[in-house]
């Protein structure tokens, strides 16, 4: 009950004041009213305090009515009024407390909605508890299922708890808190023994945090004085625990979801990266797709590209002399050397076919030729190592052609593959196999030649060739920039003579052709291509040419 000031009661209420005075007058009573400090609060003292009647409220004396015997009635009336006023004040005080609680809960809800991070929520909750409840220290403990122990995501106030001891004594604390009841604990000797709380802590207040009847943790406040915590404080703490439980659980679920999603994304990325190594990214991009998962049966695109084939000469006889493992090793190391060269010249490897590589250069034949020259140099390097290791050197032939190509996805819904279908591929492949007939390292067609910067490479025109099954012959050129330096020098020296010889050959002037080729072979005995043309020209000289001969070397085998 709050203290009632008689002065306030009578002073505030002017109506009551005048009514009493009037009542007293009508009843013929002459009284005055004093408070406990002998101050007159109403009326005028007339001398005799013989008659003195107490004004009481709940056995407490708050004042006196003095002066007249009948004053007792006034005293009784005033006592009633004082008591009513005291009740009103008391009620008002309780309502104000409740209002304060409502305010706290409101504000707390607002704060909770501003963060979705579990640790942040824990700290906000604890800070609010410490702010609204007189306490010296506070912690929140949460059960960590993965680690099988209690975690302490937030602390506040003085250091009166030991988080490490809490973790170590998880099972003991679980037993204490497992009932799920929130309460004020005064007997905490066991906790002090275990070093969980400091010696100077006198009592603890604990509110369980629950989600669907499962206890997930608790908020614990500590006080260094006894009787510091009251029932109203516990009620507030329970409310805060209730509000934060749901929020923290949601935050945790959200966080673990995010983790899971990240892990899956990483896994998918890895798969993507891996597939790129099996189906070239450039192929997929050319189809206008971003990833292999977007590719559909029937997707196709037509492009003008340069196709390049490379093959190891006499591979069959070489491989016969090796074990399967040695074979695999050999081809693998060969491919490993050439792959990077192709890529660094803006090309991509479309397929590995045994000892042969098919590469596509989408931009220009110039890229392809530069790559081809570099590759031949790499083969020389490869051979140096082989000879040093006592192994025989190898020879590789390279053929290229520029034309349109269809890249597409073929097969059926259960087995698809990237396919390149066109004449361009066939032509390139056949040019490559021609290298063993002409004894040339790199052969290219006139279609490819159109895109090449001739000033940067060594080229020789080798006339026409009729590929099997084709209507028209194509022009063939040899690039000898990738040969050994002695070979390059020799061919350069005899270049104009060679061109002359080829010219005679194509116009069926075999006499002059033979003469010129003989001279070339004399000057450059290592020029096997010249020897090839020499024997052909010699044959036609003696036997004559067939009817409708167009000057082309005929490829009788594919």
């Amino acid at each position: 009950m709050s203290k009632i000031s008689l002065r306030q009661l009578l002073g505030k209420n002017k109506e009551l004041n005048s009514f009493l005075l009037q009542l007293a007058k009508e009843l013929g009573i002459e009284v005055w009213i004093e408070d406990m400090g002998e101050n007159v609060v109403m009326g005028t003292p007339t001398g005799s305090s013989l008659f003195s009647y107490p004004i009481t409220s709940n056995e407490e004396n708050v004042g006196w009515v003095k002066g007249d015997k009948k004053g007792e009635l006034i005293a009784g009336l005033l006592s009633q009024l004082v008591r009513k006023e005291a009740e009103k004040k008391s009620l008002g005080s309780e309502v104000l407390n409740l209002y304060q609680e409502i305010n706290v809960i409101f504000n707390f809800s607002e704060k909770l909605s501003q963060t979705i991070e579990a640790d942040g929520i824990a700290q906000i909750t604890l800070d609010q508890a410490m702010h609204s409840i007189p306490s010296d220290s506070g912690i929140m403990v949460l059960w960590d299922n993965e680690k099988g122990q209690l975690q302490v995501p937030a602390t506040s106030g003085k250091v009166l708890f030991d988080p490490e001891r809490i973790r170590d004594n998880s099972s003991l604390l679980l037993r204490i808190g497992l009932s799920g009841q929130s309460e004020i604990i005064n007997d905490i000797s066991i906790l002090k023994e275990k070093g969980i709380v400091r010696e100077n802590v006198e009592s603890l207040m604990y509110a369980a945090m629950k989600v669907k009847h499962r206890i997930m943790g608790a908020i614990i406040l500590a006080a260094t004085n006894t009787e510091q915590f009251a029932a109203a404080h516990l009620k507030l703490l329970v409310t805060l625990a209730l509000q934060s439980s749901g929020a923290i659980e949601s935050a945790r679920l959200f966080e673990s979801n995010i983790r899971e999603v990240k892990e899956r994304e990483e896994a998918i990325l890895k798969i993507h990266e891996a597939t790129k190594k099996f189906v070239p990214n450039e192929f997929i991009r050319s189809l206008g797709k971003e990833a292999i998962t977007d590719v559909r049966l029937g997707d196709q695109v037509e492009k003008v590209v340069t196709v390049l084939f490379t093959d190891i000469r006499d591979f069959t006889s070489i491989s016969e002399r090796m074990t399967p493992e040695e074979n695999f090793h050999f081809v693998s190391s060969f491919n490993a050397r050439l792959g990077p060269i192709i890529r660094s010249h803006n090309g991509f490897i479309n397929q590995y076919l045994g000892d042969s590589i098919m590469a596509i250069f989408p931009n220009s034949a110039d890229d392809a030729l530069s790559a081809a020259v570099r590759m031949q140099k790499e083969v020389h390097e490869f051979n140096r190592e082989r000879t040093a290791a006592g192994l025989e050197p190898i020879k590789a032939g390279i053929g290229m052609h520029t034309g349109s190509l269809i890249m597409g996805i073929t097969g059926d819904n259960f087995r698809m593959d990237a396919a390149t279908i066109s004449d361009t591929v066939n032509t390139a492949s056949r040019l490559e196999s021609l290298t063993k007939h002409y004894i040339a390292d790199i052969l290219l067609s006139d279609a490819s030649l159109l895109q090449i910067d001739k000033s940067r490479v060594h080229l020789r025109y080798l006339g026409l060739v009729q590929l099997k099954g084709k209507q028209e012959p194509i022009h063939v050129y040899e690039c000898f920039s990738g040969n050994h330096s002695s070979d390059i020098a020799g061919k350069e020296k005899t270049l104009s003579l060679f061109n002359e010889a080829i010219g005679h050959y194509l116009t069926s002037d075999f006499e002059n052709s033979v003469r010129a080729f003989e001279l070339v072979t004399e000057l450059n005995p290592g020029d096997h291509t010249a020897k090839f043309f020499l024997s052909s020209a010699t044959k036609y000289l003696s036997k004559g040419v067939p009817e409708n001969w167009n000057g082309a070397i005929e490829m009788l085998i594919k």
């Binding site: 309502v95 304060q100 409502i102 305010n103």
Partner: protein, 126 residues
């Protein structure tokens, strides 16, 4: 001169709560006046000249904004500190509150501690 506080709200419990919160000021000689509608409030302000007025916005017939406007802008009564009270979620009124010349803006439910310290500050009783 004795300080006067006027509490204007159509809800009895708010009038009671504000009074309860500021109870201790009674010992310092502060006089409390109340009104439950805008028209009476206006009259009381003109006759009693309270130093501090708690004015609820949402009231029937004449709302707090209009009272404030009248007092601060039209009648330009000086030395009256007006605190507007409004429900949470109606914070857009803040702008309007500034326009009508309110001194402070508080939301309900209010923080009793904040209310008390503000009152003390305004009446220079801190």
């Amino acid at each position: 001169m004795d300080k006067k506080i006027l509490i204007v709200d159509d809800e009895a419990h708010i009038r009671m709560l504000i009074g309860q919160t500021l109870e201790e000021l009674e010992d310092e000689g502060v006089e409390f006046l109340t009104a439950d509608n805008g028209a009476s409030a206006l009259e009381l302000i003109q006759t009693e000249k309270p130093h501090l007025v708690f004015l609820d916005v949402m009231m029937p017939r004449m709302n707090g904004m209009d009272v404030c406007q009248k007092v601060k802008k039209e009648l330009a009564i000086e030395d009256v500190y007006i605190i507007l009270l409004t429900a949470k979620g109606q914070e857009l009124d803040r702008q309007r509150g500034q326009e009508v010349g309110a001194d402070v803006y508080m939301t309900k439910p209010f923080d009793p501690e904040v209310l008390l310290s503000k009152a003390k500050q305004v009446l220079q009783l801190d």
